[in-house]
Structure formats: C-alpha cells, structure tokens
C-alpha cells in the first residue's frame, strides 16, 4: 500500500475544508493568547491553494508537485508567523517526496522534513507552546508506527493522533515563542492555535489516506 498524488490532492482539499470549518475556533484560540487572526490567515491561504489547484492546466504528477504548490501559495497569501512556518514545512516536505508513490518510510520522511522546516525557520524547541508541540509527537508516533510495520494510512493515523495529543498538551504550557510569549504566565491554560491547526491538517492527511 502506497500513497500517490491523488492522496496529496485529497489531503490538500480536506485541509482547506477543515481549516475553513474551524476558522472561528482558530480565531478564538488566537484571540485568547495572540491576535485573533490564525483562522482567518489559514482560511485565506488554503482558499488560495484550492483556487490555484483548480486553475492548473494539467493535474500535478507527483506528491511533491502538490506540496510545492501548497508551500508557495501559503507563503504568498497567509502572512503572519504561520505563513512562513507552514510554507517552509510544505517546501521541505516537497523536497523529500519527489517520487510518484509514498510508502510508510516516505510518509515518515515527509513529516520529519516538515517539522525540521518549521524548527529551522521558527527556532522553537518542544515545550515552548507552538505548533512544534504538535508536529514533534506526530513524527514520533509516525516513526513508531512505521517501525512496527504499519501501512502509510496507519502511519498517518498515528501521526494525527500524536498531533492531537501534543496539541492538548500545550494547554498547561507557558509560551516562550510566538505572540503568546508576550503574555507570560497568562499564556498558561490555553490551547495553542498553531498546534490545533497542525492537528486538523494531519487529521486531514490521515482521512485522505483511507478515502
């Protein structure tokens, strides 16, 4: 069992759908410890991605082509912290998925590259209450699943579950990166919006793999 470019397209469409559906929730989370634009920014970005995808003359051939389109579109339409961070994530992921099919190791490589991209740009380590706290356990769970011989769809399901857990675990954290860090102690007790959107996007990836 492998994942192909159709999966990637389904993933992107599902990402756009879930981000748009949770727009208000993400805005509200960001309003509490940030500036209230995360849901708006991602919705704007993924809406633009879908528009670009729909406007393509020829369907994309490889997973990497899809991810690269996502990367450049998010970079030029999202802005804020999330734009460059997600943009770099997809760009790095695109680089390691230049093949037509992804097996479980390929899925792990994709997730690892994305996470490394985010860390390279944002310089956040785990525990600083950012999206890194969702990506890191997602990668760990994916690695464990792949090591246990799970097929790509299950690797993604594990990653999504890891991201969900990681997102929840940001609640008690004190933010030391991103806008929430300005709040000091007052950042404690809130779910990080970027961790939540990571959870949504990885759930979309897993969902797209079982469709």
């Amino acid at each position: 069992m492998t994942l192909d470019v159709d999966w990637a397209v389904r993933w992107v469409r599902a990402s756009a759908a879930t981000v748009t559906e949770h727009r208000e929730e993400l805005i509200e989370l960001d309003r509490q410890i940030g500036d209230g634009d995360h849901g708006e920014n991602l919705t704007r970005g993924f809406t633009a991605v879908i528009a670009k995808l729909d406007a393509l003359d020829a369907p994309p051939e490889q997973v990497g082509d899809v991810l690269k389109l996502v990367a450049t579109t998010l970079m030029s339409t999202v802005g804020g912290a999330a734009g460059p961070l997600y943009g770099t994530a997809y760009l790095r992921a695109a680089k390691v998925t230049a093949s037509a099919q992804l097996n479980s190791a390929g899925v792990v490589a994709l997730l690892e590259a994305a996470t490394e991209g985010i860390v390279a740009r944002g310089k956040a380590r785990p525990g600083e209450k950012t999206m890194v706290d969702a990506w890191t356990p997602a990668v760990a769970a994916a690695v464990a699943a792949a090591d246990a011989g799970a097929p790509p769809s299950e690797v993604l399901a594990a990653a999504a579950a890891g991201a969900a857990e990681g997102a929840q675990a940001t609640i008690p954290l004190l933010a030391t990166k991103g806008r929430a860090s300005y709040l000091g102690e007052r950042s404690i007790g809130h779910l990080d919006p970027g961790a939540r959107s990571t959870e949504l996007i990885l759930a979309a990836a897993a969902g797209a793999a079982v469709d």
């Binding site: 209230g36 634009d37 970079m75 804020g80 944002g122 806008r179």
Partner: protein, 331 residues
C-alpha cells in the same frame, strides 16, 4: 461589531485605495501584490527605506512614506504581517541603487516574512540591510522568549533613519543610525478597551468596566497584567518609570517624548498623559528636548496610549528637525 467598513475582507484594500487617492501628491500604490511607495519612484543614489507589517496601526507605515522618511511600505492583512511576495517588490521599488534598509518590528511573522522577502530581493540584485525594532519594555525575560515587540518607537526609527538617508548617508551609516535609535528607545503601553479586528468580529479581549491592561502590544493582545482603573497620573507613572528605568536614564540627558494614542483616545487625554510624563522626566533631571503627541502607531479603535522615550544626542536631534513630508508627519 460597529465599523465604518464594507466587506471585512476588503478593509485593507479599500482603505489603502482611499489613502493613496487622498495623498496622490506623495504616494502611489502597486496592486498585486499590494504595496505603497513614493510617487515618482525610488530616489536615485539615495538609500531606500522600507517598512511594513500588519494593517490596523495606521498611520504606520504608509502614512510615513515621503521625503525624509520611508520610500515604501507593505501593508499586510489586519494585524497580520505581509508576505514575501509583497515585500520583495517593495524593496526593489525603493532601491535607487544605494541599497535598501528594511525596518521590521520584532514579531515572528514580520521577521520571517521580511527575511524571505529580503532574500528574494537580493536575488534580484537589491542590497538589503535589516533592523529589528524592539522597544516594548512590557515584555520581560525577553532573552527567553520571542523578544521584545516593536511598537511606537518604530516611528522614531523611520523618521531618524529617513532623515539620514535623505541627507545622503550610505546604507551602512543609515543602518547604524537606525540601530542607534533602536538601542536608545523604549516604550510601554496601556489599554482601557480592547479593539475589534474586522474579520474576528469581536473584541480582542474582554475587559471589565473597572480594569485596564498594562503592557499591551499593538495587536490587541492582552497585556502583561490587569490592574484596576486608576488616575491618569498614576498610570502614566507606571509606564514612564518602566521606560526610563529600562533606558537607565540619567540626570542631564536630553530626550524625545512621544505620547502615542492607540486610535480611540481623545487628544485631550493624550495631553494629560504627556503633561505627567514630562513632569516625571523632569523630576528625574532629564530634559524633554523634543515631543510628539498623537495617534502614530495605533491598534484600530483601541482606547489607550503608550509612552515612548528616546535618548537624544545632537545628531539625532538634528535628524529629528530635518524636513519631513509625509501624510502623517510633516514639517
């Protein structure tokens, strides 16, 4: 949410359109990607100055485009930093062959997007230097966090570096001036009310009728802590003391005092804050050599103010007095 707007999605484009129409003698705009620049284009041989950031802080930054200040400004979505594909062509548009200084407020988003924007412009042959403004003393333990925010002090950086560029300084010198201003400017703010971002539709935080937020930023973020409403003189003392202490202001020094309104504060209140801030500076033995009072770095319709102190030296004072001709600052 009560606003004089049409579709919340169009606030930035429509308001920039109005701005450029109203000040067509000073600015022009590029539509896709969106940025604003001096009418007539880059000044040949002069170092270009570009700033930008989320919208909602007007007149920052487009209001400071013009002779003696910026060459271009890049407005992002409301409270959202602009994207590299806007930033890069703005940097190019500001380049008169002597390189461009990007003045970036210290927010993760602004820093990252300007980083990429500068890389793209560099690839097109534009020499770009960057300074990061981080004047907000409300952010404590800044070494362990995203660092201090860039707030109202940005206006002073833009004015003084702008004057340096206008008199013909080269990129390294203009950058050094900007950095000297950054090293000597501090700000702290207070909010009496939150603001409402059009796309969010509700106030950025909930504040009881008898409480205020001390140490707010300019994006409707809640502040460091909440205190009961107090007389203006007390609030001003809290802000001014934090600023002056952090600046290690000594008796005999000359300063510029900026009292900045957050957008919804009556001018009369800003002058009440100014009066007390000035008295406290003088009580410390400092001399308020220059002043600026008004709405310069706002958070939409937020009620509140920030107090900024810049340590002056003769060169900076001279640069402050140099002519400036922009929509929002002019002499």
């Amino acid at each position: 949410m009560k606003k004089l707007i049409n579709d919340p999605q169009n606030v930035v484009t429509e308001s920039v359109e109005g701005f450029v129409l109203a000040h067509a003698d000073i600015v022009t705009k590029n539509d896709d990607p969106l940025f604003v620049s001096r009418v007539g284009g880059a000044v040949q041989g002069k170092v270009g100055l570009v700033s930008g950031g989320g919208s909602g802080h007007e007149p920052l930054h487009a209001g400071f485009i013009g002779v003696g200040m910026l060459d271009a400004a890049v407005p992002g979505a409301m409270f959202t930093s602009p994207t590299p594909d806007q930033i890069a062509p703005a940097l190019q548009a500001a380049d008169g062959g002597a390189g461009v200084l990007a003045i970036v407020k210290n927010y993760t988003g602004d820093v990252l997007n300007f980083e990429t924007g500068a890389e793209l412009a560099d690839a097109e042959g534009v020499e770009v230097a960057t300074v990061i403004v981080n004047d907000d003393v409300a952010v404590e333990n800044s070494t362990w966090t995203a660092g201090r925010r860039g707030v109202a002090g940005t206006v002073l950086v833009e004015k003084l570096a702008g004057a340096a560029a206008e008199r013909g300084d080269d990129l390294a010198t203009v950058t050094a001036i900007a950095q000297r201003v950054i090293d000597n400017v501090r700000t702290m703010g207070v909010a009496l009310t939150a603001c409402t971002v059009p796309h969010a539709g509700k106030p950025s935080f909930d504040l009881p009728e008898d409480e205020i937020e001390i140490g707010i930023g300019i994006h409707g973020e809640p502040g460091r802590h909440r205190i009961p409403l107090a007389p203006a003189d007390e609030i001003t003392a809290t802000l001014l003391d934090a600023v002056a202490d952090d600046l290690a202001l000594a008796a005999g020094e000359q300063v510029l005092l900026l009292v900045n309104g957050m957008g919804g504060t009556p001018a009369s209140e800003l002058y009440i804050v100014y009066r007390q801030a000035r008295a406290l500076l003088e009580a410390r033995g400092a001399q308020v050599a220059r002043s600026l009072v008004g709405n310069y770095t706002t958070s939409l319709e937020m009620q509140g103010a920030s107090v900024t102190v810049l340590r002056l030296d003769d060169e900076l004072t001279g640069l402050w007095d140099a002519p400036v001709h922009t929509a929002a600052l002019r002499w």
